[in-house]
Amino acid sequence: MPDLIEIAKGLLESKEVSFIIGYTKDRFGRVKPYIAKSVEDANNLMFDHHSIHNLAVYLTRLKIPENGRVGIVAKSCDIKAIIALIQENQIKREQVYIIGMNCSGVVTHSTDEWKKENIQIKCKYCADKAPMLYDAVAGTAEPFEQPDDTQEVLMQKLETMSSAERWDFWAKEFEKCIKCYACRQVCPMCYCEQCLAEKNQPQWITTSPTPAGNFSWNIIKAFHMAGRCVGCHECERACPMGIPLTLLTRKMGMVAGKEFNYRHGMAIDQPTLVGSYNFNDNEDFIK
């Protein structure tokens, strides 16, 4: 299997892509996103279990020329986001050259060791560890010890709580929010030029980082991810306040799966869940 740098060099040399969104290591060994624009730059590219960032976010943040093409280094969980972006008309399939990475799980923090306790919970459920949509594949996947799904435990605990208890749980979590919007900015599916949170004519959500303002922001954000979240868990990683945001997106994902047997970002020609309907959709809850 050709390695990442070889593929990247070839693409940049032949000008098949104008740049490659990938990862690099800084002089302290920390992994971070990197835009390789030349063959020389390609030497700086790398991929390992610290390559946690979902780079699909850059596909909409950076300008891709109308008929241009860019390369992107993507794990299979990131590829779901790329597929979802294609499903949602944000990019065209032919605009991205996907270098799919065989992945052996990623750890939560850049300084963490690659071991069971540190591997992200999402990796446990990455049913598609081999890239599912790609133009080239690189890297080798190594077996790893799967993390415990501590979130599942919490999820079940929440489900058994009374509404009032759940409310208190979330009120406490949301109170931490400082409205830095890192969760939004890091999310590949949050590509709106003007976020609802920025719309003030009329005022869609209370912008203050107060209990009421935080509640409306986090709820609306979670709702906007309903049927759209690809489960990359970037929002929770980015949150400086440690709010368990993926509990919300996970819950929405469970609804999508249970009620509609749907997962976003699985196929580029799949009709999106929001925007389609079925005459026989469940309506037990409607009087």
Partner: protein, 668 residues
């Protein structure tokens, strides 16, 4: 902004449970309200004058009327305000009657609620904006899809009124199923005799552009302004040159390979053919799937005999576009094929009746051909298998109709009548023959219809058996029809020579495709859907598109013709004015914030959302955004609620207005 509040007592209707004066008084001190008063009958002339006077005196910008339901008098008050210089869309109605005084008894709580309701309206109206009705020009040309009797009738009506019509028929000839029929009930006059002159009239009409062997490919635009692309399929015969002499057809060496569509597969036809002798236009078409030339590159017999050099083997499909103002869908029906495994259907079918296996088990249209003077037997009743005269014929009704387990839930409506006709025709032609009819009920509700059925039973001696047939099988050269006479309560077995099944009418398989092209709804069976079953039976939810004939539901000839004329009348109403006025409640996209996810397009039931490219001065694509075609938008606002960045808003029900209504509740 100065708002006037007008509270109506509605005689005692509101005044009995709501203290209207108190409502007016409370509102007079409300921010933004410059005037508030109550009056006995606001909708009366003096009441309207009060409003007009206050508008002028206080220089009001907006008006809230607390009265009956907006469905009742919104228009009245809007008109009154408009005449006094306030834009009609700066008027809001608070429903104090249906939603308050009539449903409550307690005066204090009803009054408190009334105050709330008016306040909600006041808060909304603060965010209303003056709107103008949308004016759309009307192209006065109609498109009729389908050249059966319904399409022919619609086309002729509109053309005779002086408007141009484009009539598109997918078969090589117009005429539809009616041209296949022998005689028609209840008068037993010859179908072709009454139809053919109309077909010729269509052909010769200076206002009608007839496109046979053609299909609608694309429909864009909206009421009054459609752009329609028609695919004219390659006929392999130049229609402008052909004289219809028929030499090519006579000389075609391929005679047996193709089954005649017109004769319902009871006969065959050549590779180059005219569907039937009276076809309009009388121009042949080459069936490329059987023609030797297209298989081997040899033959060309037709080309050799044609004196006009009309044969063109290389002919391609061509595309024609038309500007159209109104569209009438008249795509008709077909009969339910009842084989064991009906193609493309989840329905179980009637394999036990042997249709498709037993040669003399035929359907209604096949019997029409047999009974027709122009049919394969020249009108003699001879059974298909051995061309012998059947002496005992069983007719089975409701095959597929009214039978949810094997067919369809609905009644096909015409089978009772045509079965009676078939039995009668048989008895008239085979005097010593026996005719049996299995039926569930007899539905003969039309002028002269019941008398017709009675005549079949009483004068012609057709034997009617109430009951269903369970099985048909061949035994000793006879068809054993097993059934039950539910009135006598006995099992029956008839050894028939021929069986005619009155199979269900179902929509043409292309119906749903056409409906999708037109952007109109269709029901689960594929029949096209009218907008209102009682009051707007020929209109669809898409403005400017009307329905005629059996594409809507099973119906007989007079009904189809009536519906076709109604649809034509609707189209002509549209053509009656040059400009169309529409409510301005439509969605609008803010391009600067649109992220181009096109979820709005996915949820729009009217295909009103289009894509628009935004380019900079150098021509570089900046982004692709949504754009609302105001002509198509019906104003439901689903796009507005779906848009993640709130870049599309429904004018008249903008978020700002609804938020104001919601937030007004916090003051209570």
């Amino acid at each position: 902004m100065k708002i006037g509040v007008f509270v109506c007592y509605c005689g005692e209707n509101i005044g009995r449970t709501v203290d209207c004066a108190a409502v007016a008084k409370e509102l007079s001190a409300y921010p933004g309200v410059a005037h508030a008063e109550a009056y006995k009958y606001m909708c009366s002339d003096p009441g309207q004058n009060l409003i007009k006077q206050a508008i002028k005196e206080k220089n009001l910008d907006a008006v809230v009327v607390g009265s009956c339901s907006p469905h009742m008098h919104e228009k009245t008050f809007r008109k009154a305000c408009a005449s006094a210089g306030v834009n009609p869309y700066m008027v809001e109605i608070a429903n104090l009657r249906e939603h308050c005084s009539w449903i409550h008894d307690d005066i204090p709580s009803a009054t408190a609620k009334a105050i709330d309701l008016v306040r909600i309206a006041v808060e909304k109206v603060k965010y209303n904006e003056p709107l103008q009705t949308i004016q759309v020009p009307v192209t006065k040309r109609a498109l009729v899809i389908g050249g059966g009797i319904a399409g022919i009738q619609s086309a002729l009506d509109i053309a005779n009124a002086g408007f141009p019509v484009v009539l598109v028929e997918k078969e090589p000839s117009i005429g539809g199923h009616m041209s296949q029929l022998s005689e028609t009930f209840p008068t037993l006059d010859c179908s072709q005799c009454i139809l053919t002159p109309r077909m010729v009239e269509v052909y010769q009409h200076s206002n009608i552009t007839l496109l046979t062997y053609s299909e609608v490919e694309k429909v864009e635009g909206f009421i009054g302004n459609f752009k329609v692309t028609v695919r004219k399929k390659a006929r392999s015969v130049k229609d402008e040159v052909c004289t219809g002499c028929g030499l090519c057809v006579q000389n075609c060496p391929i005679k047996k390979k193709a089954q005649s569509e017109f004769d319902e597969s009871l006969t065959t036809r050549p590779a180059i053919y005219v569907p039937f002798p009276q076809a309009v236009p009388n121009i042949p078409v080459i069936d490329r799937s059987v023609c030797t030339y297209y298989k081997t590159g040899k033959c060309q017999m037709c080309k050799k005999v044609c004196g006009r050099e009309a044969i063109d083997f290389e002919q391609q499909d061509t595309f024609l576009t038309f500007d159209i103002g109104a569209i009438i869908a008249a795509t008709g029906y077909k009969l339910y094929k009842i084989d064991k495994k009906p193609e493309g259907h989840i329905y179980k079918g009637y394999g036990e009746y042997g249709y498709g296996e037993l040669k003399d088990v035929i359907d209604g249209l096949q019997f029409e051909r047999i009974a027709s003077a122009s049919g394969p037997t020249s009108g003699e009743i001879l059974r298909p298998s051995d061309k012998k005269e059947p002496k005992k014929v069983v007719f089975v009704q409701c095959v597929g109709s009214r039978d949810e387990s094997k067919g369809f839930s609905y009644c096909s409506k015409i089978c009772c009548m045509y079965t009676a006709k078939h039995a009668m025709l048989y008895k008239h032609k085979v005097h010593d023959g026996e005719a049996y009819v299995f039926y569930m009920d007899i539905r003969s509700n039309g002028k002269g219809y019941d008398e017709f059925v009675r005549r079949a039973i009483e004068e012609d001696g057709v034997k009617y058996i109430r009951g269903r047939v369970s099985k048909i099988y061949e035994e000793n050269g006879k068809y054993i029809v097993k059934g039950e006479d539910t009135i006598a309560g006995v099992r029956m077995e008839i050894d028939a020579d021929m069986v005619v099944l009155a199979t269900a009418m179902i929509p043409q398989p292309e119906n749903s495709k056409v409906a999708q092209l037109l952007g109109i709804p269709y029901d689960k069976h594929g029949f096209m859907q009218e907008v209102h079953p009682k009051l707007r039976p020929v209109e669809t939810s898409t403005g400017g598109i009307f329905l005629a004939g059996a594409c809507h539901s099973p119906r007989d000839i007079p009904e189809s013709v009536a519906m076709a004329s109604a649809a034509a009348a609707k189209a002509m109403v549209l053509f009656g004015s040059d400009i169309l006025e529409r409510e301005p409640v439509v969605a609008k996209v803010e391009a600067s914030t649109c992220a181009g996810c096109f979820y709005c397009q996915k949820v729009c039931a009217y295909s009103a959302i289009e894509r628009k490219e935004i380019r900079d001065r150098q021509g570089n694509l900046i982004k692709v955004v949504a754009y609302v075609n105001a002509g198509l938008c019906q104003g439901c606002g689903t796009c507005n609620a779906t848009c993640p960045s709130k870049s599309v808003e429904l004018i008249g029900f903008r978020d700002e207005q609804i938020f104001a209504e919601i937030q007004s509740l916090s003051g209570f």
